[in-house]
Amino acid sequence: MDKYFSFQRFAGLTLHYLYTMKRNPTRLIEILVWPSLELVLFSFLASAISSVDNVSIRVGLGILSGVVFWNFFARIIQETIAQFLDDAFSKNIQNLLITPLTLSEIVMSLFFSSLIKMSLSFIFLSLFLVFFYPLFFASVGTQVITWVALLVLWGCVLSLTALSLVFLFGERMSFIGWFLSTVIQIFSCVFYDRSVLPPLFYYISFLVPSSYVFQTMRVYLATGSIVKSQLVVALMLIVLYFLVSVILFQLSFHYAKKLGTLTKT
């Protein structure tokens, strides 16, 4: 009887996160304006690099693809944490946690509303891309779906880990979304090949699923071929980290109730 999933509660909480976005200009700027400005800047950089020779076109396209696809990943983490903290800062989180909501309903609503916001952000970015760098969509083709799917899944897994830390340490962890996405960006080799990393970072990058996605993406842009085995490794790592993060999330919620941090968030 207990712990059943209710679509009504899931939809109610998802809409709640969307209500708070539409009335919060700061969040709208973070979702739409910030990534667009970044994209315009990098599309000019890509154009400048591409004008050197044929090889440079690929380099420019690689940088621009990195910016666009990284946005998917970072947006999921940052939005998930920001939405949760919006309620924490408003002193509403206790009100939500004493409803019959289950943890899975909360997490899925956070992810789903983040996905909606990410899609909005992507539509907005696409308009800029078509205008400033029309070559982009012709170059990446349908492979884009696989890359985005893997990055979104990886973003969800890391969000769950970040939420665990927020549960345990409360508002002090408000920086965790930005921090995690920036740290992971270093090891994800978004703009450069794995080989340029120093030895320790090089080996760590093999443990980061997004590094395989960006390595595969660069190979595709250069040769037009897809290294499927690399994407399979990325997926397996994501599944492994998902299992770990679910356990971590449940443990952190359990300890947060013991420590009383849920009432101080």
Partner: protein, 256 residues
């Protein structure tokens, strides 16, 4: 059925009252909240020690005591936001651990220290909670509640919650807490920012719900005396007194 007490029962009752021990209430109403030996330490400090109470359906219990004595912590424990170190919690004769969703569907909470989401409007916030409690016909229910508390204008103005005054915020919180017609209502200092007229409105609304059990933590002894039938007085995290409402003088003496 005879309601007369035997001599033995009268002696036992007299001893319990004399030493401020919890008296067992003879009632046909079922127990809705049962706490057994609840203890909690937070940041290595003892907050609550061996709290055992039984609350019956329809009772209005005031929770009083000096600042920092654990009144809010006790409410949060009953709502499942804090896990006690020892002891058991039963609500509606069911364990909180195994029937969390079922229990939370039948209870609610309002506190003057909490707010709804600041960036959503009053209506959007109340609609969210109506959906979370799966309230049928939520629009009608919200309109009825805000009308009861004289805050229809907040819906008409479509105000964001962060623009509300403290008193308006408390009223919206109470509306939120009544959305699911809770059988047990937990209130934490909810009248702290209410004017006397609004306090009376709240009393009137709650008194109409004769079967509704209320646990009301407050520093306002006058308010507790007007509204509650029993009082739980906490001191240094322990029960100082739990029983029928004593005189104001006696309550004040507990503060010591």
């Amino acid at each position: 059925m005879s309601t007369e007490k035997s001599n033995e029962e009268i002696v036992v009752l007299a001893i319990l009252i004399r030493y401020n021990l919890p008296t067992v209430r003879r009632t046909n109403n079922p127990a809705v909240v049962e706490l057994q030996n609840i203890s909690k330490r937070l940041a290595r400090l003892p907050i609550l020690t061996n709290i055992s109470i039984t609350v019956y359906q329809g009772e209005k219990i005031g929770i009083a005591g000096p600042i920092g004595v654990g009144k809010t912590t006790l409410l949060y424990i009953m709502l499942g936001l804090i896990t006690p170190d020892t002891g058991t919690i039963k609500m509606f004769s069911l364990s909180f651990e195994t029937h969390r969703q079922y229990i939370l569907q039948r209870v609610n909470f309002a506190s003057s220290a909490l707010k709804l989401n600041g960036y959503a409007s009053v209506y959007e916030n109340l609609l969210t909670f109506a959906r979370l409690y799966r309230v049928p016909n939520p629009k009608h229910k919200i309109e009825k509640l805000v009308h009861n508390f004289g805050i229809e204008y907040l819906l008409k103005k479509n105000l964001k919650v962060y623009k509300l005054s403290a008193g308006e915020n408390s009223k919206v919180n109470i509306c939120k807490a009544l959305l699911n017609n809770p059988e047990v209502l937990f209130l934490d200092e909810i009248t702290a920012y209410l004017d006397p007229k609004s306090e009376e409105m709240l009393r009137d609304v709650l008194k109409k719900q004769t079967l509704q059990t209320v646990l009301f933590a407050s520093h306002n002894l006058q308010e507790l005396r007007r509204f509650c039938t029993k009082i739980l007085f906490l001191k240094k995290g322990k029960i100082q007194y739990f029983g029928p409402m004593p005189s104001a003088k006696r309550i004040l003496s507990y503060y010591g």
